[in-house]
């Protein structure tokens, strides 16, 4: 496992790297100099020769050096296991969702999460606050106070804020303080009995479907409410072609809306369910192939602003069940980089564009001090090989949960080292 070093590193020069800093549009040979927890120099000028005296030299052998990944949609589950999974996947900052177990509708919970994560010293954890008390969709949570305590944005997690008046008030009130609402876009009454995407596959399997319209109906409603209130809206995990189109038009009309998607929605479609594979039961459900293609297009043309892993750890007991009874959700931290890099390997985006979607773009959305290699930024770095092939084996992934929808998938792109605040926190076993 990771060589964990709690002592600050002094000066370290990462040299002989392919430097990738999407925030600066930088893709060049060079290096990064860190001093303690911060980056002090970056660029072609950072070399072994020019490194300051006493600095430790890390030769990157031409591999890619970039900011650590920023993941804005993570369900924590077992926090210690999850931050270990994070750093193994190159994720150095993440934003965690409120869940029924960890509601985050009270300041103490915001502080609790941040404190526990700091103590572990692995990935940095920033909490979302709940939009409504108890995630019940009725009364507003104390968003102002939660924000003061450190909540970076507001969401009811896997539950949509379903009531239109509540959503209207939430957006309006949040905008008082310039806070953003993140919506899980699914009209619950249309999704009620559904367990996968509606269509031929569901019909064959005898499973009840969730129509694609359940997503776009909620998105269209919320866009209207955003116009009405002037609130700041972010749509999470876009999964359908219709939603991509709708958001593309809304952005063209100048509405202040952003969105993200998760790797399953651009790398898989509903056929991954095969013969009732519950690891492929997700929320929103995996959609049809044309939806997957539309999500790729949305990423390529900038309609979709960021990629988040949608990491949802579940134990074996909640997945080894008949499909309808199994919990939805899949883990994603470990495979975020490799699966996102498929967009590069398949020629849809440049390497720098892919990295932007998992570093500076999500950091910018949430206002996190992360996702950049500029001088003075925290020394949160990853060294990776974008080409190295490996096969996802759910049983062998770092962390506790094994419910990866990508189990068995051959991927390319391996994290060779993860550095947080100047400390190396992960290197793969040789």
């Amino acid at each position: 496992m990771a060589p964990r070093n709690d002592v600050s590193q002094g000066r370290v020069a990462y040299v002989n790297a392919r430097l990738l800093d999407p925030a600066a549009g930088l893709d060049t040979a060079g290096g990064v100099l860190t001093d303690g927890e911060a980056i002090t120099d970056v660029g072609p000028g950072v070399t072994k020769k020019k490194a300051p005296k006493g600095a430790r030299i890390v030769d990157c052998h031409g591999k890619c050096l970039s900011p650590g990944l920023v993941d804005i949609r993570v369900e924590l589950g077992d926090l210690a296991a999850t931050v270990e999974a994070a750093v193994s996947g190159g994720v150095t900052s993440m934003v965690c969702l409120p869940t029924p177990e960890l509601v985050i509708d009270d300041m103490s919970e915001v502080e609790f999460v941040a404190r526990r994560a700091r103590k572990l010293g692995l990935a940095k954890v920033y909490p979302y606050g709940a939009v409504t008390k108890g995630l019940e969709g009725k009364e507003l949570a104390e968003m102002g106070l939660l924000a003061e305590a450190g909540a970076v944005a507001f969401t009811d997690g896997e539950r949509a804020v379903a009531d239109a008046q509540t959503m209207r008030r939430a957006m309006s009130y949040a905008s008082t303080f310039g806070l953003m609402i993140v919506q899980h876009p699914e009209e619950p009454s249309l999704a009620a009995d559904g367990v996968m995407n509606a269509g031929e596959t569901a019909t064959r399997l005898g499973l009840f479907g969730i129509p694609k319209e359940a997503e776009v109906i909620m998105v269209e409603r919320d866009l209207r409410l955003a116009s009405l209130t002037g609130g700041r809206l972010h749509i999470a995990h876009v999964s359908t072609a219709e939603t991509v189109d709708t958001l593309r038009r809304a952005k063209a009309d100048g509405l202040n809306v952003t969105c993200d998607t998760a790797p399953p929605y651009f790398a898989l479609n509903e056929t991954a369910i095969g013969d009732y594979r519950t690891f492929a039961k997700l929320s929103p459900p995996l959609r049809a192939e044309q939806d997957r293609q539309a999500v790729v297009e949305g990423l390529a043309d900038g309609t979709i602003d960021a990629i988040a892993s949608d990491h949802t750890p579940r134990d074996e007991e909640s997945k080894r069940l008949p499909f309808a009874q199994a919990d939805p959700g899949g883990i994603g931290l470990n495979t975020l980089l490799a699966v996102s890099l498929e967009l590069y390997h398949n020629g849809h985006l440049s390497l720098l564009e892919v990295l932007k979607l998992v570093t500076s773009a999500p950091a910018g959305l949430m206002g996190l001090p992360a996702g950049s290699l500029k001088e003075g930024a925290p020394a949160d770095l990853i060294l990776f090989d974008p080409d190295e092939g490996w096969k996802v084996d759910a049983d062998k992934l770092v962390g506790k949960a094994q419910n990866s929808p990508f189990d068995g998938r051959p991927v390319q792109g391996r994290v060779l080292r993860t550095v947080i605040d100047g400390r190396p926190v992960f290197e793969p076993d040789a």
Partner: protein
């Protein structure tokens, strides 16, 4: 050990989880074998000791009288040891998972498990955890393969074959495993399938399974050779699938007037249990000339004997063929 019949037929699957994916030849093997049992079942001595010493467990997670009894008779007529386990008497209600139940039963070395479960895919999941043959006795809205086989046997005996026949399946297609298994079987054997139902009871994109869809009984039944009615669950009134039984019967219940659109000698079928006056008029159901509903029940035992025999004696399941 008794030999598996003179003709030494081999069914090349460990389990019978569904009709989808079976070839016409494989379906014919099952139907041909069933024929011999139809004759045997009409004799005074109905038993053969083919499955002597074999253990069959009927594992029913959902209420059933007909299917369970039919399998029970089938197993006993083949000389097997058969026990019934139903949810009410099992530990499943006490929180034991499906997989735990499977592992526990597996440790008792059964030769065949017949499983019915309210959730689609549950029988397949269970089959992955046991060493014996598994027969799907109906899983959720997915498949009910022995029902489709007994329907096919009934039709074949009356019409000489399945190919080219026009079959209408009417009613609650959305929730029906019987409909799905029949669609697969009839299409595989060269029949043409129509579905007739209100739009709320037609599953999305079902036309991709190779069926024609109608929402008008008179139109849909025109020139049909076979009319298969499905049972309408009363619960469907709650989910807003339908406004009332009265309205459903008016538009989609099978009565003589609607039936007059079908061929004069069209057969009327129903998987049972029937809701008289809901999906089918009571006189039509009892029409000896056209209704083969009781014959279906008879064929059911024969089909289940054939399936039990071919799976239990399949060398892949440790049986001696």
């Amino acid at each position: 050990m008794a030999k598996g019949g003179k003709d030494n037929v081999h069914f090349p699957h460990r389990h019978l989880l569904g009709i989808e994916g079976l070839s016409p030849e494989e379906i014919s093997i099952l139907l041909d074998r069933s024929e011999t049992y139809v004759n045997q079942n009409r004799r005074a001595d109905k038993t053969t000791p083919l499955l002597h010493g074999r253990t069959i467990i009927n594992l029913f997670f959902e209420d059933s009288t007909r299917t369970r009894t039919s399998f029970e008779l089938a197993g006993k007529r083949l000389g097997g040891d058969l026990i019934n386990m139903s949810v009410a008497t099992s530990s499943v209600k006490k929180g034991e998972t499906l997989i735990d139940t499977a592992m526990t039963l597996n440790a008792m070395h059964p030769d065949v498990l017949v499983v019915r479960h309210p959730h689609s895919g549950a029988v397949k999941l269970l089959s992955e955890k046991v060493n014996c043959a598994v027969i799907n006795g109906g899983d959720g809205s997915h498949e009910h393969p022995t029902q489709a086989l007994l329907d096919a046997l009934t039709i074949r005996r009356r019409r000489g074959g399945l190919s080219g026949l026009q079959v209408a399946i009417c009613g609650d297609i959305l929730h029906s495993r019987v409909a799905r298994s029949n669609i697969h079987l009839l299409n595989t054997m060269g029949a043409r399938v129509r579905l007739i139902a209100p739009k709320t009871l037609i599953p999305p994109e079902v036309e991709r399974l190779g069926v024609e869809i109608f929402h008008d009984m008179n139109e849909g039944l025109r020139d049909c050779d076979i009319v298969m009615m499905l049972r309408l669950q009363h619960e469907r009134m709650h989910g807003n699938f339908l406004p009332s039984i009265r309205e459903y019967f008016h538009f989609f219940g099978l009565d003589y007037e609607k039936l007059s659109n079908a061929k004069e000698d069209a057969l009327i079928m129903h998987p049972g249990p029937m809701n008289r006056g809901v999906e089918i008029d009571t006189d039509v159901a009892d029409d000896v000339g056209r209704s083969v509903i009781r014959e279906q029940v008879e064929m059911g035992v024969a089909v289940r004997m054939a399936v039990l025999e071919l799976l239990a004696l399949n060398p892949d399941n440790g049986g001696n063929a």
